[in-house]
Symmetry: C3
Subunit: 148 residues, 3 copies
Amino acid sequence: MPTSPPPRWISTPTGFLMVLREGDGVFAQLEALAVREAVPSASFMGFGFLRRATFGFYDFERREYRPRTFEQLELANMTGTLAWKEGKPSVHAHGVAGDAGFATVGGHLLGLEVGTGSLEVTIICHERRLEREVEPRIGAKILSLGTG
Amino acid sequence: MPTSPPPRWISTPTGFLMVLREGDGVFAQLEALAVREAVPSASFMGFGFLRRATFGFYDFERREYRPRTFEQLELANMTGTLAWKEGKPSVHAHGVAGDAGFATVGGHLLGLEVGTGSLEVTIICHERRLEREVEPRIGAKILSLGTG
Amino acid sequence: MPTSPPPRWISTPTGFLMVLREGDGVFAQLEALAVREAVPSASFMGFGFLRRATFGFYDFERREYRPRTFEQLELANMTGTLAWKEGKPSVHAHGVAGDAGFATVGGHLLGLEVGTGSLEVTIICHERRLEREVEPRIGAKILSLGTG
C-alpha cells in the first residue's frame, strides 16, 4: 500500500508554514496552497537549499525577462506575494542566494527547485482577494489594490 | 476632473499591504502610512524594482553614513521597522538589491525610489508605541523597548 | 546596587519584537526567548549591525558545514525559524550581510554576534510545537510538520 506524502504545510495563527523537500518546485507548491486553502492573497518569506534557481531581469524594451540559472545554492532569503490572475494563483517573488563560497546573486525569481535538505516558507495571509493586472504601458504585472 | 491616485495600501489582519509605483519614495510612503494610520510601531518586508537606491555604511568615528547610490536595480529584499522619534515617524531599513547581471549590493538603506513597475511592502503592526533614541556613546539611533 | 539589563524583547499581537545590543549572541538570545516564553515554534526576520558572522556551506559528503567568519558587517536580512530538538530550542537561519563597500555574502548562518549599534528581530509565533529531526540519508536537520 503506497503511503501518503508528508504534508507540505500546516496552518498557523497568521497563515501557513510550509516545509518543502528535495525536488519540489517552490512556485508550484505555493500555487497549490493558494488553490487548496483558498488564500485570497498573502505575503511570504522563505529560505532553504536550492538545486536550481532561475533569476530574470526584466528588459522593458523587449518586454521579457533575461533569465539565468544557478545551481546548488543556499536561498538566503525569498520575499514575495501571492495573488490571482484570471482565476489562477499568481506568485511574485524576489530572492538572494549564496554559493559554496558565500558569493551572492539576487533579483526577480522565475523558478526554484528545492535541493538536498529543505526549504521553509512562512505565509502571512490577507483577507482581501487581490488580482495582478498587466499594465499595458510597461507590459509588467502589477498587484492591484483596487481603484482610487 | 482630476482622478484620485490609486490607494497605496490596504489594511490586512496583521497590518497593511502597500504597493508603491514608479517615482514613489519608499521611506516617504512608509512615513505617510505611519501618520495617517497612527501606527504605534511595525516591522516590514518588501521587494520590487528601484530606479535609485542609496545605501550607507556607518562610520563610527565621523558619526555619519558613507553613502553610495545605485540605479536600476531589483530590490531582492528590504527588512525594517517603523517607530517614532520626537513626534515624527522613524524608518530603519536594510536591503539587498541585484543588477541586470544579478550581482548584489546590500546594507543600511538611506533612500529608495521606485522604478518602472512596482514595489510591494508588507507591514506587520505592533501595539506598543516605540521610540528611537540616540545613544550618545555611538551617535546612532536605537529602537527603545523601555527601561529594565 | 546593580541595575537590571534593559529588556531584549516585548510581545506583539503576532509574536515578539527583539532588539539586541552590542556583544549579544543572536542565536543564544533567540533560544532564551523560546525557553522563557515557551514558544511552540516561530518564524523570524531580522537586520542590524554585526561584529562577527559565521556562515557555513553544507558539505553533504563530509556531513559538516564548511565555515567562514566575516567581521564588521551590516546584516541586510536574516530569515529563519525556531523549533525544538530533544527538549532544546533549535534555530535555523540564513542571512545576507554587506561590508563597508556594500559587497555581500550570504547563506546558512552558524553564529552571529551583534556589533556597535543594534540588531532587530521580528518573531511571528505559531501554535503547534514543532521538532527538527535528523534525516539519516543526508545527515541534515529537517523541520517536521508531522507524519503523512
